[in-house]
Structure formats: C-alpha cells, structure tokens
C-alpha cells in the first residue's frame, strides 16, 4: 500500500508543479502591466514604477521569479488580492465552505434520486418506465446549466414564489459563523427561521448543480445494474430462491456500486465548473462567483491563487479516490 501511495504521489507532484507553471505564466501573459494593475486608475510615476518592479521582483530573470513564486507557495503565501488587500488564501478559505456546502448538497441530491432511478430503470429494462428514465437523464445530461437556473428561477421564484431568487440567507438573520457552513451555523444558532431561510436559499442552486451529476449517476447505475444482473452470482442467488428485493440490493446493487462511485468521483471537476455558473447566477458567495468577479475586476493575484487552489483541491480529491480504490481493490494496487 505504501509503494502504491508513493507511486501515485510521484505522478501528483509533477502535475501540481505544472499547474504552478500555468498560474505563474497567467499573470505574465495577461494583458497589462502588473505594476500598473496594482497602482490602479490613479496611475504611477516612472521612478515609483521602477521601484515597485524591483520590490515585486519583476526585474529578475523569469527562472528566478518562478523559483521565488514556488518558494512563497510552499510557505503558504499566495499573494494579496488587489481589490480587498486580504491574502488570497484567507479569502479562499472564507468562501470555500460555501462552495463545499453547495457541492455536498448537490451530490446528495444526485445520489438520492439518481441511484433509485437507475435501479428502477434496470429492473424494468425495455419498458416505458425505463425509456422515460433514460430520456429524462439524457436531457438532464444535455442541460445548459445557466439556462436551467434561469428557468427554475422563473418557475419557482417568480411564478410560484416558493424560493428566493438569489443569495445565501435572508438579511434579517444574524449569527456568529462557527463552522462556515450556513446550514450547520444557522441550526446551531437556534433560530428556526434562519435555518428555514438557509434551506430555501439552498434549494434551487442544489437542483441546478445536482442535475448533471444526477443524470450521470442514473445512467451509470442503470448500466452497472444491468451488467451485475447478468452475472452468474446473481443467477445463482436467484436459483437459490433469494427474495427479489434482497437479490436486487444485496447481490446486484452492491456490486454495481463500484462504477457508480467512480462516476461520482469524476464529477468533482464537473461540480466545480458548474459551481462557477450556479454561484454567478444565484449570487452564491462561494469560490466560483469569487473567481468570476476577480476575473471581471482583473484582480490577477486572486485569479492566480484561486486557480491554483482549485487545482489543488481537484488533484487531492483524485488522489484520495485513487488511494481508496487501491485500498478497496488490491488488483488496482498491484497493476503494472
């Protein structure tokens, strides 16, 4: 297991270094001079300009600059946002729980509805029920998220008045953040209305962000179940007279879960991409909206640090999934 871990790590470290190279080039390739960007609209006189270039190390050779950049990264220094003057890391860490909260709810939504839908479709293969589930999930899979969000706002918020249009919680509630997760914090605060408000604000973004994972889970569950149902051990169990429900859940579903879990793991990138659109539309104060706002404001240090941290999250999650597989399935661990 240790050698498997080290092998995986040997792949991850160069990948991460590569990402730092991309984020490093980002600020140098972007149009505009970084010093002028820092100075903002007021402009800057030439002497101060040269001085700032020296301070920022921009007069050094690129290799030295890159080395210094990585050195700072290793020490947790991702620079300061031009707009807020806060460190990029602290901004990211403040907003990240909001995105995690949304993503976790979206995945839960996807699994709670997608898994049963896939099982039902597989057990009724070829029937109208099966065709409907396939059709609906392919439609969900093809959905332009931003339009889906607009449509749901139009229906649920404007026409029916069920949910708020945007934001995280109604402004009338206040409580000290404890965990950074609004659902948990509002629950701890003991204000029933606050919790209800947080849930109502969460509903639509969850559905929007969860739609594509939901479709992916339903499709994968269906095909994995069909494959499992054709296996000899399921036939043997059926021959032994195992009740149908038990046959489906214990014998077929458990074995079908491996590819389904893989699909859920692969959704992390999709989720973060979707979070950018979902958060922008619903004014959700998470990483996605922050990145889009930072790009619009040309706040390059924030973009640079944000992209790097998002990549770090994706790489870490993928590494953890790989390790989990290696742990669960020895065949993967010992391959090649």
């Amino acid at each position: 297991m240790l050698s498997f871990f080290l092998k995986r790590l040997a792949v991850v470290v160069p990948t991460f270094l590569g990402v730092t190279l991309i984020t490093f080039s980002l600020i140098r390739l972007a149009p505009g001079d970084p010093v002028e960007l820092l100075a903002g609209e007021r402009g800057i006189d030439p002497a101060r300009h040269a001085q700032m270039r020296a301070e920022l190390g921009l007069d050094q050779p690129l290799a030295v600059q890159y080395g210094r950049y990585v050195w700072q990264l290793v020490h947790g220094d991702l620079g300061h946002s031009i707009v807020s003057k806060e460190t990029v890391l602290s901004e990211f860490l403040t907003l990240f729980p909001e995105t995690i909260e949304l993503a976790v709810c979206a995945v839960t939504f996807a699994v709670v509805f997608g898994l049963p839908a896939g099982v039902i479709a597989a057990t009724r293969r070829g029937t109208a029920v099966d065709h409907t589930i396939i059709g609906v999930s392919l439609t969900g899979y093809s959905m332009p998220l931003f339009w889906w969000a607009l449509l749901l706002i139009m229906l649920c918020s404007v026409t029916l008045g069920l949910t708020p249009v945007s934001g995280r919680i109604s402004v009338i509630y206040y409580f000290e953040p404890v965990t950074g997760f609004m659902l948990i914090d509002s629950w701890i605060s003991g204000q029933v209305g606050a919790f209800a408000s947080a849930v109502r604000h969460l509903a639509l973004p969850t559905v929007v962000l969860g739609t594509i994972p939901l479709a992916a889970v339903a499709r994968m569950t269906r095909s994995a179940m069909l494959e499992a149902l054709g296996q000899d051990y399921v036939r043997a169990a059926r021959a032994r007279g195992v009740p149908k429900f038990q046959l489906m859940t214990v014998h077929a579903l458990r074995n079908a879960l491996i590819p389904v879990v893989t699909v859920i793991g692969l959704q992390i990138g999709v989720l973060l991409s979707g979070a950018i659109l979902t958060e922008t539309i619903f004014s959700w104060p998470g990483i996605g909206k922050w990145l889009i706002d930072s790009i619009a404001r040309r706040d390059y240090p924030a973009v640079q640090g944000g992209v790097l941290l998002v990549a770090a999250v994706v790489i870490t999650v993928n590494l953890l999934i790989d390790l989990l597989y290696g742990w669960v399935n020895p065949r993967i661990r010992h391959a090649r």
Partner: protein, 298 residues
C-alpha cells in the same frame, strides 16, 4: 401440435459499414438525434432564406413583443422580440450557424491536435509519452470551464478565443483515447506485419494504426460537439464568448435574468435551442457508441 412460426433473425450480411448502419438504425433515439442534426444543419446553411428578418435588425416600435399565440403577439415575430426589438426566431436561426460552426471548429482542432499527441505518446512511449501525458494531466487538474475562462481572460473575450479555449480544454480526452487505442493495438499481428514490411513511423501511425483506433474517437467527436456547444454558450453567457450583438445562443441569455418577470420568451427560446442541439448530438454519440462498440452488442 404446431406452434406459431418463429422469426429467426437472419445473420447480418454486408461489409462493416452496412453492418454498422443496420445496428445504428435499430437505435431509435440515435436516428432521431441524427434527423434533428440534419434539420439544424439545414437551418444553419439556409439561415438567410429561412429567417423572417436580419438577426440584428431592430424594430423600434416592437420592443418585447410576445410570441404570436399570446395576446399582443403577431406572426410578424413568431417567437416575439427582445428588449431592443430584434426578432427572436431570426436570431435563433442565425445562432444555429454559430453553434454548429463552434462545434465543428472545436472538434476538428481538438481531434487533430489531441489524436496526434496521443498517437505520438502511445507509439514512442518513454520520455515523450510521460511528457505529453503529464501535460494532459495538468489540463485535467483544472475544471474545464475554469480553464476556458482563464484562457479567454488572457486572450481577451471573443468568439474565436472562446473556441480556442474550449478546444484546448478538451484535448486530454482525445489524447488519452488515442494513446490507449494505440497501446492496445500495438501487440497485434497486423501491426507486427506492417513493421516487418518496413513501414515508416508516420505511414505506420496514420495508415495502419489510426483506422483501427477510430471507433472510440468517432464517438468522442460526436459527444465533443455537445460539450463544445455547451461550453461556448456558457462562455457567451458569462460575457466572455461571442460579444453582442452576435446572435449566439449563450450570449443572447447573458442579460436574460432581468426579463424573467416580464418576458419569458426572451429567457426560454435560446435555451431550448441549445438543449435540443446538445441533446441531438448526445443521442447520436450514444447511438454511435452502441453501434461501433462490439462489447455492448446484444
């Protein structure tokens, strides 16, 4: 006692192409997808003749006119008009042209570059392989839309840059597929035969290997159309893709949020166009996969 006559399925005859077509034809969803795509292509080609008005013509006396079946609507603007009096239907028809163009360009670019990278990596292995595949891993480590947004932000927003960004973002999928296909084909006898016959690497890769690696790439290319159209529309929606007044479906939705209360048609129709197009390509891709992948054949 004689039972009902039983239909015995005939063995399927003909060449690989005919066999593929009979398999594909059985999949009703895929055929429907193909038909929709044909209609969209037709619409795109004859947009000038089909659209009732030029896409950017503003009818100042007809702002936010509802579709014809609603009170106040007229057949002059079948799907209504937007906030500056442009005909929705005409803009959507011209949008088909852009979306197909975006899809085709992205798929061609990413297919060419991605397959080349994958072929080279799989054929030469060693350092070249490691270098190429690590580069692909780096691209995969970033969420696709975020990477595209960053690329566009560097290159300046615009349709062409959006197309480039989306093409770069999807490269790893093609490279990985091509590499995996090459590696699984290399130990086969026909490959050894070609090598013994002294085929040059280039001839060998393009003429001998590539056709045998084609099926997964064809499927991916079809699904790639939908990804490209979706991503380009998302960039347009965020204001980073095609710029107004270009009648691009995503761009048309960019400021639709403000019309949610008073003009549902401005919000609804461009999205339906995106959804139908993407769905059609996904149906086609699924059908191609079933018809081309012998493992899934019943």
């Amino acid at each position: 006692m004689r039972g009902k006559p039983v239909a015995i399925p005939l063995p399927r005859l003909g060449g690989p192409l005919a066999r593929f077509w009979t398999d594909f034809r059985d999949n009703r969803g895929a055929v429907a997808g193909l038909m929709v795509i044909v209609v969209i292509v037709f619409t795109a080609i004859f947009a000038d003749g089909l659209a009732p008005h030029p896409p950017n013509q503003q009818f100042r006396d007809a702002l936010l006119v509802p579709p014809f079946w609603q009170a106040g609507g007229s057949l002059k603007f079948p799907l209504g008009t937007d906030d500056i009096g442009r005909d929705m239907l005409s803009r959507i028809i011209f949008g088909a042209r852009l979306s197909l163009l975006v899809g085709a360009t992205v798929v061609t670019l990413s297919l060419l570059v991605g397959v080349t990278l994958g072929l080279v990596a799989g054929y030469f292995r060693g350092v070249v392989d490691v270098a190429i595949m690590r580069l692909m891993d780096i691209l995969l480590a970033l969420p696709s839309l975020l990477l595209a947004i960053v690329i566009v932000a560097i290159l300046e927003p615009g349709l062409l840059n959006a197309v480039l960004a989306v093409a770069i973002v999807v490269l790893p999928q093609y490279a990985r597929l091509a590499r995996a296909a090459v590696i699984s084909e290399l130990p086969k006898d026909y490959v050894s035969a070609a090598k013994v016959n002294g085929a040059s690497p280039l001839r060998f890769m393009v003429i001998t290997l590539l056709p045998n690696c084609a099926p997964p790439l064809i499927v991916q290319a079809s699904l790639g159309f939908s990804t490209a159209i979706l991503d380009a529309a998302a960039l347009g929606f965020l204001g980073l893709g095609a710029q107004p007044p270009t009648p691009e479906w995503g761009t048309m939705l960019a400021n639709a949020l403000q019309f949610i209360v008073r003009a549902w048609w401005v919000v609804t129709f461009p999205g339906i166009a995106i959804l139908i197009t993407v769905l059609a390509f996904n149906l086609l891709g699924d059908g191609l996969r079933d018809a081309l992948d012998p493992k899934l054949k019943r």
